[in-house]
């Protein structure tokens, strides 16, 4: 399987993008990599572009559905479905909507299924650190979701979908434009009955939920040089939970999630070569959970979490001689959080400045140098430089290289958490709370022994990484008129000061008190291959694309301990101890060494027929230690690898499109270890596109 995918990856490659046959010679434009509009093929760093057409053909509903099919991206499940990029956990990838960050992470994971794909124009994924432009969290990469803009005339759509697990989706949008003013409105209702992969145990695997999304954008211009755009978003979800506790008592109740944002952007074109952008962004995120034991109605969990984020930013862009670009920006971020598990209301602020210069000494050579300085109210300032270059050897082959620094600030949880687990008996304190927390427990006589001076925890540093990406792109379209595109990217990330939990003290009940500290140094490295090939046969076209990522992610301290012969494991059968070899070490948990995909998109334009078949493979990945040495080194510590296949077929008659599809064709499940993988899911959808004026419809 893997070798076939590899062959595909190497032999033929396309870019499975957005564009239709009409625009296939034009490289689509992205904004995330440089914060300026650039053709995706001209950038000196690895960028993946997912267009609306691909999203629709794939039958995706939520952001995780489409991201899991992209080369080098994995959806991992840890307090929600998050994104793994270049071997980094979900905490290390910044998720933006129209350039503004989404907030509301649970234990570091931003739940990707919060986002519907219905209003997305395109998704841009930049791999490698982008802290030089975006600051904290942009360590592994950035995902920027670009939402739809008001189009010419008046048009809209209405679509409905129903599928297995009583899952339904209703989406509508309308776009108006008259003169200088345009309006885009979008609404979505998404509901699922959930599912239960292990009916023999009480509780459900995924409980029923219902959510609504509304978003919109108003654009207008005041004269030829001043434009205003105001975007907004509102999301609310309710889930009816039902779960079993460790002692098999049934717990039920509701959980609510809400987020909203408002984002006015004023663009001032001072001259043809000088642009100013003023942005303001406000967003809020909140959750409330009310769970009670079903038998006694005693509360099990009654908690809330509220976060807000405000940002003002001014960016100026100057163009020199039509090919050199200077970007300068400055901004202020204010953040606050209030939660059951935090004492009082906690606030952060960040002031930052950024600069980037794009220099093109010749048409074949581009250099981009940039950097950002973040001064934070709670931890040491960060400087994040980045340098990248691209050289076009000829029309067919281009090479690119980039090196940069990324960082992730300690989050609210790591600074302010104040949590006693009443059931298990342990306590966790953020670094700013651990002193007071230990003192309180001591007063209550709960501390048996202090192992590390709590005073040492105050000075926590941001996690940071130095990364290098080296790549080449082979494009046979221009020189040979062969629709093949192959790209390769080698990456290496060296991360230091990873924040981990550390035992501070032992309680009299035998449990520990934890806090957070800068501990590990890890590295991730690998290679990513992507290829696409487009076959045109009369009125039909078939796009075959494939991707592969080889990944190694390891803890440097573990590697050196193994080298020193200090790591052992116990044979579970004989209980005897043996020494672990370096080749036994599987690296960090939850990382697959091999990931691959193969995608076929077929289109018969004349008769409005289209179909897709996508296969996604993930090799085995570590779940947990089982033989006592706390590292991944034995076959039984892995979750076995698997492939999922997804199929869609669609037919468009005039303005109506009927699509049917099956996700997870083979019905692969692993109830104990991959609860998010529901079995085989069928669905059917109907979509109606309307427009009152004639315009280029998709």
């Amino acid at each position: 399987m893997l070798s076939i995918l590899l062959l595909l990856a190497i032999e033929q490659v396309p870019d499975p993008v957005v564009d239709t046959s009409r625009t296939q010679q034009l490289d689509p434009v992205v904004v995330t990599a440089t914060r300026t509009e650039r053709q995706v093929g001209s950038l000196p760093m690895p960028v993946t572009l997912i267009g609306q057409r691909q999203i629709r053909q794939s039958g995706s509903l939520r952001l995780n559905d489409i991201l899991r099919e992209q080369t080098g991206l994995a959806i991992v499940n840890d307090h929600g479905q998050g994104l793994q990029v270049q071997g980094f956990g979900p905490d290390y990838t910044l998720i933006l909507v129209d350039g503004e960050p989404l907030v509301g992470r649970t234990a570091g994971t931003l739940e990707l299924s919060r986002l519907t794909v219905g209003n997305i124009r395109q998704i841009e994924v930049v791999k490698g650190p982008s802290s030089s432009l975006y600051g904290s969290e942009a360590l592994a990469g950035v995902v920027n979701i670009i939402t739809a803009n008001p189009a010419e005339g008046m048009r809209g759509s209405l679509s409905g979908r129903y599928g297995a697990n009583q899952t339904s989706d209703l989406t509508t949008d309308v776009s108006l434009r008259s003169g200088k003013t345009g309006l885009y409105l979008f609404g979505n209702r998404y509901q699922s009955g959930g599912y239960d992969l292990s009916p023999e145990t009480p509780g459900t695997t995924v409980s029923p939920f219902l959510n609504y999304t509304a978003s919109g954008r108003l654009t207008t211009s005041f004269g030829p040089r001043l434009k205003l755009g105001i975007s907004g978003r509102f999301f609310t979800e309710q889930q009816d939970n039902s779960l079993a506790t460790v002692d098999q008592r049934l717990v039920s109740g509701t959980g609510r999630v809400r987020d909203y944002s408002i984002n006015p952007v004023l663009t001032q074109q001072l001259t043809d070569t000088w642009k100013l952008t003023y942005r303001y962004y406000h967003t809020g995120y909140s959750t409330t959970t009310k769970l009670a034991y079903q038998d006694t109605q005693a509360p099990y969990d009654d908690s809330y979490f509220r976060q807000n984020f405000d940002r003002v930013e001014i960016v100026t862009e100057r163009t020199f001689r039509n090919r050199h670009y200077l970007t300068l920006g400055a901004g202020y971020i204010g953040e606050g959080v209030e939660a059951t598990r935090y004492p009082g209301r906690q606030q952060f602020s960040t002031r930052y400045g950024l600069a980037q210069f794009e220099w093109q000494p010749s048409t074949r050579l581009t250099f981009i140098a940039g950097g950002r300085f973040d001064a934070h109210s709670q931890y040491a300032s960060q400087f994040s430089p980045k340098l990248s270059a691209r050289y076009e050897l000829n029309q067919t082959l281009a090479i690119r290289a980039s090196a940069g620094v990324g960082f992730k600030a300690p989050d609210f949880r790591q600074l302010y958490l104040n949590f006693d687990n009443a059931v298990a008996g342990y306590s966790v304190f953020g670094t700013q709370e651990v002193g007071a927390g230990i003192a309180r427990l001591q007063q209550q006589g709960q501390i048996a022994e202090i192992l590390i001076d709590p005073g040492r925890f105050g000075a926590i540093r941001a996690e940071s990484s130095v990364a290098v990406n080296l790549g080449a792109v082979l494009d046979l379209r221009k020189a040979y008129d062969i629709p093949v595109r192959i790209s390769a990217n080698l990456f290496r990330n060296d991360i230091r000061d990873l924040i981990e939990t550390q035992v501070v003290a032992r309680k009299t009940n035998g449990q520990n008190v934890f806090s957070y500290t800068n501990l590990s140094r890890v590295y991730t490295q690998g290679i990513e291959l992507d290829g696409s090939y487009r076959i045109e046969l009369g009125g039909s076209q078939l796009t075959v694309s494939s991707g592969y990522q080889l990944l190694e992610a390891k803890d440097k301290a573990v590697v050196s301990s193994i080298r020193n012969g200090d790591v052992f494991r116990r044979n579970p059968e004989t209980l005897l101890t043996e020494r672990v070899n370096l080749s036994d070490y599987g690296g960090l948990l939850n990382r697959s060494r091999h990931m691959a995909n193969v995608k076929l998109f077929y289109e018969l334009t004349k008769s409005g027929v289209s179909a897709s078949l996508r296969g996604i493979y993930r090799s085995r990945y570590g779940l947990a230690d089982r033989n006592g040495n706390l590292i991944l080194d034995e076959a039984s510590e892995y979750i076995q690898g698997y492939t999922t296949w997804h199929l869609t077929a669609a037919k468009t008659i005039k303005k109506i499109t009927l699509q049917v599809g099956v996700d997870n064709l083979t019905g692969y499940t692993d109830p104990s270890f991959i609860p998010t993988l529901a079995g085989r899911l069928w669905y059917a959808s109907l979509r109606w596109d309307w427009a009152t004026t004639k315009s280029k419809s998709n």
Binding site: Y426, E573, N629
Partner: protein
């Protein structure tokens, strides 16, 4: 050459010495000491009391063990040198220190049980200073075990050998194999805990040779 004579003399002396050693072992055979395995030694196990919902009860007493005789010692003899090590929950005590009667001590060696054949003369033995400061730290990750708070399991750290000096100045090495009753290969929280399975080797001649 001037050096020839001393070298020859040294060689002669050496061969004499070795010959003597040979004679010694021939006349005075030392049986190789054998490793022994102790299974299911209760270390103050709790009595489940699921009906009341109260924390399970235990006696709070250490199970004391004599390594030479491979048998437990009554807790009433705790103020004597009859015992060498004691077990209670995840705490392991030795018979030495201000709160003990013997001259014992211990340290945690990183390596395999079989490879530890001779103790270095530089070995330093810690003693039980107070109930919360034991020679063998009763702390997850720092002594002989790891505790996983999500699975609630105690796992002996592989490659940790407890080097023991007994109450009467003999040496032994101990490796904990399991903390659960009947030493299951993959324990779960359903298994009864506080049952030690360990192997040990006791050197009765007082030397630091442990094989």
């Amino acid at each position: 050459m001037k050096t020839t004579y001393p070298v020859l003399l040294l060689a002669a002396a050496m061969s004499l010495l070795l010959a003597c050693n040979d004679d010694d072992t021939a006349t005075n055979p030392v049986l190789p000491v054998q490793a022994q395995t102790v299974t299911n030694l209760p270390a103050d196990p709790t009595t489940p009391s699921s009906t009341t919902g109260q924390p399970p009860l235990s006696t709070g007493k250490y199970t004391l063990f004599n390594l030479r005789d491979n048998k437990t010692v009554a807790n009433t003899d705790s103020a004597s040198t009859k015992w060498d090590i004691g077990f209670r929950g995840t705490s392991i005590i030795v018979n030495g220190g201000p709160i003990r009667s013997g001259q014992g001590g211990a340290y945690v060696h990183t390596g395999t049980f079989d490879e530890l054949t001779t103790l270095p003369t530089s070995a330093t033995f810690a003693q039980d200073q107070s109930p919360s400061s034991l020679a063998i730290p009763a702390v997850s990750g720092a002594g002989w075990y790891n505790y996983n708070s999500s699975t609630n399991l105690v796992t002996p750290i592989p490659g940790r050998v407890l080097v023991i000096r007994t109450g009467d100045n003999k040496y032994a090495k101990v490796e904990i194999l399991s903390y659960y009753e009947n030493a299951p290969a993959a324990p779960t929280s359903a298994n009864r805990s506080r049952f030690y399975t360990f192997r040990y080797l006791y050197q009765p001649d007082g030397s630091m040779k442990l094989n």
